[in-house]
């Protein structure tokens, strides 16, 4: 188990009474949670418990889902991101996202990493070069691609390299928060470990929220753990939330005990 910092961290994202509906179906009910700054928060729970939906409501990726309705508040540094005046484009530049399956664009490695900075209007070649190199170094991909990254198509990389590239693409614009939706579930154990090490390194600078199926992964990398579960009406709820060590060794809710001891899920 890794060393945990003792000082109480500040709140980066405060979620209050969040309800999410897809059409007539309610997916999440009354979620209240405070996500701590520069910590890794793991969202665990069985399939269909709404943890991915919750993650996607933190950067408003649910907006595009037809029939999606979101109530409640999600405050990023105190500002409600669902306020109509809050610019969704700016929000996503502050809250980046890494997806379950690596999804680099079918372009060169360089263009992938430079995508975000270019959108922000950075045109100067030397500045872009600098950002690309630094981002690739931060995800430990630089040494593997430094000869070829200007021309090589990102789709020719291995899956694990592609996922690290996607992380590099996300951090190239220096977001404040990184959301990760089961970032290692498509990868082999060695690549999974590399991603986890990478997350521990990145958390020095970023607030990270990760959805994972894998309880060992949550226990290994996260500082905080939130356990989601559907109730009798198939509506996702937050059952337990606390520091990871405490949730795994001394869970307060019987359902958490059952889940982490493998009685279901």
């Amino acid at each position: 188990m890794m060393e945990r910092r003792k000082s109480t961290p500040g709140t980066k994202i405060a979620v209050e009474h969040l309800n999410v509906h897809y059409g007539k179906k309610q997916v999440l009910a009354d979620i209240c949670i405070e996500i701590k700054e520069r910590q890794i928060t793991a969202l665990i729970g069985p399939s269909g418990c709404g943890k991915s939906t919750f993650l996607r409501s933190l950067n408003r990726m649910n907006d595009a889902v037809p029939g999606a309705r979101i109530e409640g508040e999600v405050r990023l540094d105190g500002e409600n991101i669902y306020n109509p005046r809050f610019d969704v484009v700016q929000l996503r530049q502050r809250v980046g996202m890494v997806f379950q399956r690596p999804n680099p664009f079918p372009q060169s490695i360089y263009d992938n990493v430079a995508f975000g900075p270019r959108i922000l209007g950075i045109r100067r070649r030397s500045r872009l070069d600098e950002i690309v190199e630094q981002s690739l170094r931060e995800v430990n991909l630089w040494d593997e691609v430094k000869e070829t990254f200007r021309k090589q198509n990102a789709l020719t990389l291995s899956l694990g390299q592609q996922q690290r590239l996607c992380i590099a693409r996300t951090i190239a614009t220096r977001p404040e928060v990184i959301l990760m939706d089961e970032p290692a579930s498509a990868l082999d154990p060695i690549e999974t470990l590399r991603i986890e090490d990478l997350m521990r390194a990145l958390v020095q600078e970023y607030t990270i929220v990760i959805v994972t199926h894998n309880m060992q992964q949550a226990a290994r990398v996260s500082d905080w753990t939130a356990f989601f579960l559907t109730d009798d009406g198939q509506i996702g709820k937050l059952v337990e939330y606390g520091e990871t060590g405490r949730v795994f060794t001394n869970p307060r809710d019987q359902r958490t005990v059952d889940y982490i001891t493998g009685r279901f899920g």
Partner: protein, 306 residues
Amino acid sequence: MKKPSSQTRVARLPSRPLEFAIESLIRVLGFSAIGFVTLIFIFLLTEGLPAFLQVRPGNLFSTRWYPTFDLYGVLPLISGSALVTITAMLIAFPMGLFTAVFVREVAPNWAREVLKPLIEVLAGIPSVVLGFFGMTMLAPIVREVLGAPTGLTALTGAIILAYMSLPTIISVAEDALDAVPKSYRDASLAMGATRWQTIWRVVVPSARSGILMALMLGMGRAIGETMAVMMVTGNAARMPEGLQAILKPVRTMTATIAAEMGEVAHGSTHYHVLFGIGLILFAITFLINLAVASMMFQKRSRGGLR
């Protein structure tokens, strides 16, 4: 050990004569289609190749097309076709691409439901009707607005051809855009890109081989078109020179064959030269199709990688 295999084989041949007959019929029809294409190609070769033997290359590849004086320069015809086709693509490709982007990425569902069948109807308009439209409506506009001496110009032909190749370009480009995985769009939107940036920097570049294919297929459609072009381009077999050439009459390869084949003496040099032009046209469209096929092959093998 049972013996079903020998039993079924014994039972199969005599008890399924209909199956056998249908299979044979399909085989014969299938091969005859290939056979006809081969025969047409051989016919084109035997009638067209003599042109290259009977007419000196210096004459054939000159700039004067006066068959009555034994001047068979095909360059004005080739460049006429090229001028009209390229101008048509300059008009149709951006329009087609933007329409495809609109239909696939921007239009609300109900508009898409209306637009797609409309575009298919556009493809069904007979070319002679478009030629008629070009002669009576478009040509006067070109003459009066652009001050050309006649309305029957390369530009008029190009506009009509652009119109004719639009449905091909739109539907092929739209399919290409549709095939771009949603995960690319998600990644781009999650990076804080706007919808327009996502379309322009991610979706369209990802679909570029399909979009290029749309251009090639539209071009193949345009270069082979005869009737509409013959009706609106004025049919003067002159070398296009300079930028004004676009506002002057030209004659395309297809129009030449269609206009002169009926009046030519069978087996004469003129007759063979017309077939020779057909061969050149065939070679051009074949190269375009080859380019498309190799692009499709590349796309498929790349798709297989992922």
